[in-house]
């Protein structure tokens, strides 16, 4: 099996809205594959199709070398964006229950549950009620649950939401160690995380994949630099002058900064200072990042239009 997931020209409609519009994607087996896109881009709809091993209404989907069927769900492990645990259960009960659902014999499920709780740093809380665990612990428990039946395809939807940096590191280290040869399909809005953990990423926009490649390839294709401009507080009015000085260059706004992608940052910087120097508090020049690639392909321009 060379590809864990092959989606071909999938269309899916919810009422009037076309959630997937010719969605095509190939996920190589054994890799960590990131699906990145803004809210409403169709990535959740695609993940739901894969998690449910559903046949798409239009187009085709192949999972682990087979046509989708409910039985295939036994070979998939899913971490949903929201936790799926019963707060009244203990972590051990939750994992053993998941084992029974996914066909892991009782004794093996017990041993595997104990092993995963240890690996994810939850052994000390194995008998507590899940409602007493912290948010980060619950996320780790969710990942442990998804790994319990040794899936061949692991779906992770925002697995590190609400997880602090140290826990995040532990979580990814453990996923890497415990996944065996499983393919990981990761949906995240954290571009730094995607850059760090994904072998391949796909940018999704308006129900279709607009770019695919390794983070390095996507960044290399940009052949661009980013000039990050921080405006002084209360001087947001200067954003228009920065944009004007940037001319035809792409200007985006994120986290309170203006970002101008350019082929020649050395030439652009003096132009920006000449146009809005009185309002500029700081300016940094960066080589292209995955975030730049994301904005380039997904084109979320200042003002919020996509």
């Amino acid at each position: 099996m060379e590809s864990a997931v092959v989606a071909n020209d999938i269309r899916r409609r919810y009422g009037e809205r076309l959630a997937l519009d010719g969605f095509s994607l190939e996920v190589p087996a054994g890799c960590v594959f990131g699906v990145l896109g803004p809210n409403g881009s169709g990535k959740s709809t695609f993940l739901a199709l894969v998690a449910g091993a559903e046949r798409p209404p239009e187009g085709s989907l192949e999972l682990l070398g087979e046509a989708p069927s409910p039985a295939l769900r036994a070979r998939i492990g899913t971490v949903f964006q929201e936790n799926a645990s019963d707060p009244l259960m203990s972590p051990t009960e939750y994992l053993r229950f998941a084992g029974r659902l996914f066909g892991v014999p009782g004794r093996e499920a017990g041993a595997r549950a104990a092993q995963l709780l240890e690996r994810f740093g939850l052994a000390g809380r194995a008998s507590d009620r899940i409602s007493a665990l912290s948010g980060g612990m619950r996320r780790r428990l969710e990942v442990a649950r998804a790994l319990l039946h040794r899936p061949e395809l692991l779906l992770l939807d925002e697995p590190t939401t609400g997880v602090d940096p140290e826990e995040r590191r532990l979580l990814w280290e453990t996923v890497r160690a415990e996944r065996g040869g499983a393919t990981v399909l990761l949906a995240t809005n954290d571009l730094h995380e995607a850059d760090a953990v994904c072998d391949v990423v796909a940018f999704v926009r308006a129900g279709r994949v607009v770019a695919t490649g390794s983070p390095a390839e996507l960044k290399r294709n940009l052949r661009r630099q980013t000039v990050r401009v921080e405006l002084a507080p209360g001087r947001e009015d200067a954003a228009a002058r920065v944009a004007e000085a940037a001319g035809g260059e792409g200007v985006t706004q994120a986290n309170g900064e203006l970002m101008v992608t350019t082929d020649d940052a050395a030439a652009l910087a003096p132009r920006l200072f000449a146009a809005a120097g009185d309002a500029i508090r700081g300016l940094r020049i960066e080589e292209a990042s995955l975030e730049d690639a994301y904005f380039q392909y997904v084109r979320r321009r200042a003002g919020g239009s996509t």
């Binding site: 739901a48 039985a71 769900r73 799926a84 645990s85 019963d86 009244l88 659902l101 066909g103």
Partner: protein, 265 residues
């Protein structure tokens, strides 16, 4: 690759629901205490205050036990279906629906738990009341209890099916309770649970005989309270109606199953 057993999954879901009820102590106590309080106060109040001499044994408390057991089943099925909403809201339902088993197997597991919970609660109410009231036990105590439990299981099958059919269609738990109460409380009044059907005006009798709960009350009274079959509908009709309707309503409940949804979809 192991093929997960659906029977094991159904059993696991049922056991987990049973454990959840056992842990929700307040719900457990109230579901048994409420009918008992009802039985003690209403039963004694009417028995001594109104002297219901038309009843065969003249004892309203003994008469009321069958109706109280039916009422317990109604509460029980409503409470059990609340677990559907809890699982949906906590996200647990997503785990169940992403498993290799069909949504019907998931619902079957939940119904099995509801049936067991309903039967246990009915047995507790019956067991708590029996020493204090004058039952006829016309078939003997063991056979009477067995017949009562069969009746309760058939009734709960119907009520669970109804609750599932509603739960998958009504978005909010408040709406679900409202619809269940609106549908089931009038049925309780026309079932012979609180007063005998045979003395009612003709129009009320029509409503009573069109009401499935009437057949559950009748069978329960035959099994526990009655000393003979005179004035009762009879087990044949009671069980035929309860089994037929129970099966049909349960299948209707399974006709619409929840689907795996995703945040952002």
């Amino acid at each position: 690759m192991r093929r997960p057993s659906t029977a094991a999954a159904v059993a696991a879901i049922a056991l987990r629901d049973l454990r959840a009820v056992a842990r929700a102590r307040s719900q457990l106590y109230s579901s048994v205490l409420t009918p008992l309080i009802f039985l003690v106060f209403l039963g004694n109040g009417v028995s001594h205050g109104l002297e219901p001499s038309r009843l065969p044994a003249g004892n309203f408390t003994a008469y009321l036990v069958a109706g109280t057991v039916v009422m317990t089943s109604v509460f029980s099925s409503t409470f059990s279906s609340a677990s559907y909403y809890r699982d949906r809201d906590s996200g647990f339902l997503r785990l169940l629906l992403s498993s290799p088993h069909s949504p019907r197997a998931v619902m079957l597991g939940k119904s099995l738990a509801a049936l067991v919970i309903g039967a246990v609660q009915a047995a507790v109410v019956l067991g708590a009341a029996a020493p204090f009231v004058d039952f006829g036990w016309q078939h003997g105590i063991l056979a009477g209890v067995a017949l009562a439990l069969v009746t309760v299981m058939l009734l709960n099958l119907m009520l669970t099916g109804l609750a599932q059919a509603l739960a998958t269609r009504v978005q909010s738990m408040q709406g679900f309770h409202l619809v269940m109460n609106l549908a089931l409380f009038p049925l309780l009044f026309f079932s012979g649970a609180f007063f005998p059907v045979d003395g009612l005006p003709a129009w009320m009798k029509v409503l009573a005989y069109a009401n499935p709960l009437t057949y559950a009350v009748d069978a329960l009274q035959l099994a526990t309270y009655a000393t003979g079959s005179g004035g009762f509908i009879g087990y044949g009709v009671d069980f035929a109606v309860l089994a037929g309707l129970g099966g049909a309503v349960y299948l209707m409940g399974l006709s619409r199953v929840p689907k795996l949804t995703w945040s952002g979809q």
